[in-house]
Amino acid sequence: MPRRDDIESILIIGSGPIVIGQACEFDYSGTQACRVLKEEGYRVILANSNPATIMTDPEFADATYIEPLEADVLTAIIDRERPDAILPTLGGQTALNLAIELVESGVLDEYGVEMIGASGDAIATAEDRDLFRQAMEEIGLKCAQSGIAHTMDEALGVVEEIGLPVIIRPAYILGGKGTAFAHTTAEFERVAALGLDASPISEILIEKSIKGWKEFELEVMRDHADNCVVICSIENVDAMGVHTGDSITVAPAQTLSDVEYQEMRNAAFACIRRVGVETGGSNVQFAVNPDTGEQIVIEMNPRVSRSSALASKATGFPIAKIAARLAVGYRLDEITNDITKKTPASFEPTIDYVVTKIPRWAFEKLPGASGILGPQMQSVGEAMSIGRTFPESLQKGIRSLEQGRMGLNADPGEGQYQQEADTDLLTSIAVPTAERLFQIGELMRRGVPVDQIHRACDIDDWFLDQMLMIVEERLHLETATLSSLTRMEWRRAKQLGFSDGQLAYLLKEKEANVRLRRLEEGVVTTFKTVDTCAAEFDALTPYHYSTYEDEDEIRPGVRPRMMILGSGPNRIGQGIEFDYCCVHASFALEEAGYETIMVNCNPETVSTDYDTSDRLYFEPLTLEDVLNIIDAEDPVGVIVSLGGQTPLKLASELPPELVCGTAPESIDLAEDRERWNSLCAQLEIPQPPGGTAVTFEEAARICERIGFPALVRPSYVLGGRAMTIVYDLQELEEAMKELTAFAGLGREGGLSADRPVLIDRFLEDAIEVDVDSIRDQTGEFVLGGILEHVEEAGVHSGDSACAIPPPNLSQDTQDVIVEYARQLAERLEVVGLLNVQFAVKQGQVFVIEANPRASRTVPFVAKATGVQLAKVAARVMAGETLEELRELGALPEPIREGHVAVKEAVLPFQRFPDVDTVLGPEMRSTGEVMGIDKTFGLAFAKSQIAAGEGLPTGGTIFFSLADRDKEQGLEAAKGFVALGFVLAATAGTAEFLNSNGVHVETVVAKLSEEGREISAGVDAVELIGAGQVKLVINTPRGRGPRSDGYRIRFASTAHKVPCLTTVAAARAAAVGLEEWMSNPLTVRPLQEFLGLGSSAE
């Protein structure tokens, strides 16, 4: 028997919260692993702090620990569960680092836990830059000329030897964090210092820069019998110098001859063998000198990675699933290829299409970030697209990003480049940014030759020429009219990936007319199949992409089909939570007897696993692409309300009879300020006073009426895009100006000048509350959960910690809240999910907004209460009633007692040191964690530790409070002092605390505008820099980069000192710490909290 029978239980470590460089691809890989190992009959124990994952659904493991991913916590889990083995290669860098810690601390030995899928030695060889370089040299592979340094002196020594420019890479980091280029000595000293600091072992690798070389990656698998296969080759469109995660990448490699490719393949196998990855997947990155073909190894990851998720989706070969099987003893030839069902997994997939991955960034949400791409990853998500050719794939990829662009220019968005001179554009494209692709397109439109563009940006000629084909076609189309185009011309344009929207722009017609005319010409979409084998064998898995060819491969369905529209690329405000909802809908609807069709373009997700739904369409989520699938599949319904704004924006344009659940009119009703106000008035539900405005003058008139502070936001956006709180007229004017500018750029499809700005009185110090609920077509309403936010109203709900059950709301208040939600659901005729946000001020409940759709908190509520709201909602939308679902056992009573769950947001500030960390109404978190325990304090403490900030258990806490926060801050300060902490504070705060009987040990000097001290003593920045502060509590007063507070927050980010920017969080921390320090750490699986009969031994 190939399956190992000497182990019975396996602990899988997840990757924790979604952060830049580690996103939902590890939910995808972890979910696959859990599934496979359960199927194989092992007892699966899972540790992951991220409640928004599918893998932490209680049915995916035997014991699911939603606990902080820290060595001591894992030790406690190991102590409780006594697993036979630990599998750390599917949870990203986080899991790998933890595994190393557990090896080094002797925990695995002590408990007799075997590491499978990788060995400590292999991980060390791959991860330690010096060991890796030595290993590669041993097997005759070249690495970049380089040296290792642990101190600045060593670093300077290395650079003297190899010369500038260099790239600096800290050891043991994820997503290239802290990695940077240096061209001058000054620059070198700065980035080397940052790198030494970023590396947990204070080690940096300094490499000779090979900027401009071509970059490739091979996804490799190996089994214990030493069979090695390449799953996928990937070529970066961007040359070396841009992190792979931030590069546009293409599969398969396009510009390597077979001779070179085989050399690279041999090198990759030599590498995985030397490093000693005995089973599983690894990726090996190469740089190739475009002039000589010289190949060097950049790095290898001895684990499943973001690229392996991409490679899996790109080829149909499920790397994580196979890796899990290999880890428990199987050989590649003993595993069947899922897609063909008859050929083995011991082959190399070949494909007959081109896959393009394009990253999506969030610079607009992070003022202060430069927007320049480099060796450190900054993107928050990615879209993948499949086309028969690169031009088609590229244009589909661009429209998949949903950033208001329809393809490679030829759309209204191109206007922004037309004013720039050729020379300016040529200068711009030398610097990699999110705009570069479009700038290149514009240069091509102007006739600037490919050679010149290549010299400016280093992108390979082949890619540029393929882009030129798009531009040439565009120039041709510009001279055409709707009626002049022949069938062949239509087909050629569509084969080059032009969207109907682009054609409408070029032909100066309405998109609907373009579609109509195109279909009349018989140019209809054909769907092809992703089958791992370029059609050599019959594929049984319906995983499709659209193109314009002769033959369509869609097979007729058997059962009625339900289509679920996914949420597209991850972005701040719309991430894994919505993918979770879509996946749940798919599971639930399949249970309800439908054939499920998933449409999505995000390669990181579980939803785009071909196993999740009956049929998968890897397609952009634009109206055109969705209508094409509807035409092909003829579904009975389309679910639009679970994937966030992406599908919701399409709802009103889809055939109304197909839209499941709440009618699009109700969605509009909730969004249309005037109608919403009158609705609330009719129901006598209080709202903060407000109004809508298009101009500053209108806005000013509203503020005159309602008073300051006011909350200003655009309609129809998720994640608090461009939302601000203004305290006076001047700030209002700035905010209005900014909003108009955003609208002008045509960003974020939902934001435009004809959708007005909403202005509301901002309720200071109010408690913000979220409610998730479901109503069915019979009018029955059920509450999912009431979530009380820790941070006060004004901090975006996505960035705020929140708790279930609400720790500070009276039963009366909760009753009022539920009743309001019920009335709103009734009045909006909700069928499915309804999320309502309230603000509670001095016992009075105000409604802020209602969203008849899935909210970000749905998975958290499910994990906290045991009610899988998204599944229930999907079936309710498909026509079942809550009563029916209750009878089927699909709607259990929520568990509301016995534990408290706290969700905490995880913010990306470490990546963007220049961005102010103050929380506000604009959401900036990338992910979330959950802490669950007996009490709020313990759960909150766990959530802080899980979020990576941690809480100190002794030392100095630095306070700097805005005047309005001083009263409340006093309470927190008292708490900390009682726990034995020492306080430091700014003069004003110190005076206040001292006069209220709380002793402040150190009073820091004040800083001038230029950052110079203007009073005597050590200033806060120095104090933090010296490592003397364990926690910073800094609530903002002045704003902007010149304020004192900004420097303090900057210093705490730079030195990784946890920093709380609201007084509410400080109070929660004091409460949490008190309980944390007086209780021993306990861990319990979710199954136990939810009364699911945990099988813990």
Partner: protein, 362 residues
């Protein structure tokens, strides 16, 4: 943009594909259409003499991206009848490139057709088998006629059209190896010449002529078409077996098998690609192999051998070793080019076999 030459591809069963003609200008070309699934290595494929009589349909849509290079040529000229691609690269990009594919096709007289739904064609061939086809600028009627009268590869002698007219010598190794050129790839000669002085001989060379060269081993190369049409070589090999170690690749494997009394058959659409998993039954290890064959040897049909390799996709016989005499062969291409290098050990195995047969050679 240059003038587009419209054209069509017609299969013998009537299926028609519209496209754009590329490469050498012809009114009609015909051959048996097969598909190849490699992602890179188009030039090696096009110049592999085993494709004599065939039209190659590339499943990967972009062909020509990295241009052409003399180093990637596998024979003195290409012998295929034409190529079918989805998209021919306009601009090539690679430091090794010495020219573009389109010019190469023109210079070598190979016609092509682009803009084809090559996946539809592949699925058609997969479902209906490799079949005669024709394409060109001629009228549809003429193309239909050409496809219908095209004999395909079964029962046709294609080897005589590709074999070397004269014997030639390559390499300076200690072993002397006589290599039957049944359509030999240059990379096989290169691999052999690393272990031996190689005398490449025409397909019609008799066993006596071979023995006169005093070989330590005889090699049987790859080549096009039906092994049953290579009777003369089968006879010659029959006479050499047991006298010198023999190693056969692809058609050479089939010929060895026939000489031993095995049976060949034509496969539905064959194996053409660089990703075929083959298990070495001696070691259990998997080799990812480069393959190109439409005919195969029936498993169990060859007396006196141990079957050493099997294709994991469809259990086709991929290799055998004679039990009593020094001879072995594989159906796939250990020389790769294009394709993985997983199986190059077989050339060393040939050297070892010669050593053990003759004792060490100095």
């Amino acid at each position: 943009m240059s003038q587009i030459r419209e054209g069509a591809l017609v299969l013998s069963d009537g299926a028609t594909f519209e496209g754009e003609l590329i490469g050498a200008e012809v009114d009609v070309t015909s051959g048996e259409v097969v598909f190849n699934t490699v992602l890179s290595g188009y030039q090696e494929v096009i110049t592999d003499p085993s494709y004599a009589g065939q039209i190659i349909n590339f499943t990967y849509p972009h062909i020509g991206n990295y241009g052409v290079s003399n180093a990637d040529v596998e024979a003195r000229r290409p012998f295929c009848r034409g190529i079918v691609v989805r998209d021919l690269a306009r601009r090539r990009s690679n430091w090794r490139s010495e020219g573009d594919l389109e010019s190469y096709l023109m210079a070598e007289g190979i016609p092509g057709i682009a803009g084809i739904d090559t996946r539809r064609l592949t699925r058609h061939v997969r479902e209906n088998g490799a079949m005669p086809a024709a394409f060109g600028s001629a009228s549809l009627d003429l193309l239909v006629e050409a496809a219908a009268s095209e004999p395909g590869t079964e029962g046709v002698d294609l080897v005589s059209s590709v074999t070397t007219p004269q014997i030639y010598e390559v390499g300076q190794g200690n072993f002397r190896v006589v290599a039957y050129d049944l359509g030999i790839k240059k990379s096989i000669v290169d691999q052999l010449s690393e272990i031996a002085t190689v005398f490449v001989v025409p397909a019609h060379t008799s066993s006596e002529e071979v023995l006169e060269l005093g070989p330590h081993g005889v090699f049987l190369s790859n080549g096009p078409g039906d092994p049953m049409m290579a009777g003369q070589v089968v006879t010659a090999i029959g006479a050499l077996l047991g006298k010198v170690p023999v190693f056969g690749i692809c058609l050479g494997h089939q010929i060895l098998s026939l000489a031993l009394g095995g049976k060949s058959y034509k496969m539905k659409f064959g194996h053409h690609g660089g990703n075929v998993p083959v298990q070495n039954l001696d070691t259990g290890k998997i080799e990812i192999t480069s393959q190109n064959h439409n005919f195969a040897i029936e498993s169990g049909s060859v007396p006196g051998v141990t079957e050493t390799h099997v294709c994991l996709n469809d259990e086709t016989l991929e290799g055998l070793r004679c039990n009593e005499i020094p001879a072995f062969s594989v159906q796939y291409h250990p020389e790769a080019s294009p394709g993985p290098h997983d199986s190059r050990y077989l050339f060393q195995q040939f050297a070892d076999l010669m050593t053990s047969f003759h004792g060490s050679i100095s």
